[in-house]
Symmetry: C2
Subunit: 353 residues, 2 copies
């Protein structure tokens, strides 16, 4: 051998459990962790097909949709974003992207790579986009697709998306919504609200490990995918093929890629836990917890970043960091790593966990 | 709610363990399954960075390389294939793809989607490509990239790749090798053999769950990536960004996507097991087991598909299926599902497991 076995791999893995309080991944429950350690199944095993079918049902409940093209992409939330953009856009087509935080910029970057003509409409940082601003932009740009984030984890803003489909229909435009940081914690009615494409991540409210991106396309979006003039640019998330692997169409199942059974186990259990609790209860619970957090943060002197309480995303609470610390300091301290201002932070009421 | 919680999710997950004898995924060992059930860590946690560093070391050992751009893509083997093609090719560029089974066709499909001009050189089904055939094709096509599969799981053929770099250098062409079904089980010396890009899957010889694609790029390939005229078409596997997340360059780590800690735990342990055993021993063990399998299969009357024993891939043994059964029948029977010809199969010496 030219390269010897590395020293660092001579010891077995040891992971110190941490309570995850960031915008995601969330801490997985013991039931989910127990599930992901079950034996690996082949991607062509009928037992795994049953689990995939369960997941499709659970996702239709979470998205509140009857869309047949509903499944989990084998990648993280970003791959859901990229799957939506790459399947619905072709080179030279107009897309309108709402910039309400980091994720709009990310979507714009991706859409440009696929050769789309990117137009944007931006909110004031930390506030929502108003309906009239969106309507004006759609009327001006006449995009094929309008993309917006429901819960932006980079700002903690909750963007209303219940009232956008009328505008999009009027200008014959598809409506795609990122619900990565919000699905399961705030109301989302994909069918009732006329949303054409939506995607999430397994590791946020659903509490499963990262690695899967739940996704759903309306019949209208599916028709657009099936009538593309050019092939979907990325094989890995070509929905015509992935949809067949998930048996979303009336065609035989095909092999597309080696789906990760262990990740599916985790997502299946996350969805089962959500179904047990009920969406209404999960939404209420997130709201209640967030309100308690706002109160406690304000008690110890923090100012919340999103002024208007109705505009706050209950899953991600953003605060101004006092000028005598850096956010890196706070994050390290809360994760029990050494940080420069640990004693000051402790005195002010921060608790590491 | 418009859609109620689905009945099928009212029961908890139950997985019947199966001994996996297909071309992959392989059965994960208890040590690996125990690892993947450890608590989820955030993608920005220094503890996870340490695990990523361990994995980079382990992969350099497995690939036998000193390449700094060595990491695991957050997707299955297919995403490794697509990452190689999308990073190394630009629209309008010539690629030469060796068709020695299904995976060459798959690579050709992907490369076409990225706008490359696809040229192919095909072997007779079930045999290797000869050096002269490859040299003739490279000289004729003058591709930017030559792509070939070392171990084709669709045919069970082992393609020699130790002697290709001289040809590729002569015609100033990059050499990419798919080692999904072979890495860790047959000799592979990335640096010694002058290979510019290689990728594998976590779920084959390494025995971890599917969901990660180990990948490595030579300094020459890295220079090509960094001097692209167009941006990498896919954000999710833009190696300039993924490489920074994995701290492969002398730059600060960035957030690119929410990497799956549980999948990393599994891969880290798979690599640790390989380092413990040693590559030489693992290779010898696969060879010995394969020979025993060949003998037993021939004893019960099977004809092996790859005639020449030196051309056989020791991880995937292919046989002619007798004309009185279908391969589907055999696969179902071996997985203990009902199959039409179960009694005949049993009589002939097949054992379900």
């Amino acid at each position: 051998m030219d390269i010897g076995p590395p020293e660092c791999l001579k010891t077995a893995l040891s992971v110190t459990p941490k309570l995850l309080m960031g915008p995601g991944p969330s801490t997985s429950s013991p039931r989910i962790l127990q599930a992901v350690r079950q034996s690996v199944l082949e991607h062509t095993d009928p037992d795994l097909f049953k689990i995939m079918d369960d997941i499709k049902e659970g996702l239709r409940y979470a998205f509140q949709t009857k869309n047949v093209l509903t499944l989990a992409i084998s990648g993280t939330g970003h791959s859901g974003m990229e799957a939506v953009l790459s399947n619905l856009l072709e080179p030279g087509e107009n897309v309108l992207i709402a910039i309400t935080g980091t994720w709009g910029d990310r979507a714009a970057d991706m859409a440009r790579r696929y050769g789309a003509i990117v137009n944007t409409v931006s909110s004031k940082f930390g506030t929502t986009l108003k309906l009239s601003e969106i309507e004006d932009a759609v009327a001006r740009v006449r995009p094929k697709l309008f993309f917006i984030v429901q819960g932006d984890s980079s700002t903690g803003v909750l963007q209303p998306v219940d009232n956008l489909s009328a505008i999009c229909r009027r200008y014959n435009c598809l409506l795609a919504v990122d619900v990565v940081a919000s699905l399961g914690a705030v109301p989302f009615y994909m069918d009732r609200w006329g949303i054409d494409a939506a995607y999430a991540g397994s590791q946020k409210v659903l509490g499963a490990p990262p690695g899967l991106a739940p996704i759903s396309f309306s019949p209208r979006a599916r028709d657009v995918i099936f009538s593309r003039k050019t092939p979907a640019p990325v094989y890995y998330w070509d929905m015509k093929l992935v949809g067949r692997q998930w048996k979303c169409f009336d065609e035989d199942r095909i092999y597309h890629h080696t789906i990760s059974s262990t990740l599916l186990y985790g997502l299946r259990e996350g969805l089962s836990i959500l179904a047990d609790e009920g969406l209404e209860h999960a939404i209420q619970r997130h709201r209640t917890c967030a309100k308690r957090l706002y109160n406690e943060l304000e008690k110890i002197g923090f100012e919340l970043f999103v002024e208007n309480e109705d505009d706050r995303l209950c899953t991600v609470t953003t605060v101004y960091i006092p000028d005598w610390v850096t956010w890196d300091d706070v994050a390290l301290y809360m994760r029990r790593y050494k940080s420069k201002n640990a004693s000051k932070l402790k005195k002010k009421g921060f608790r590491s966990h």
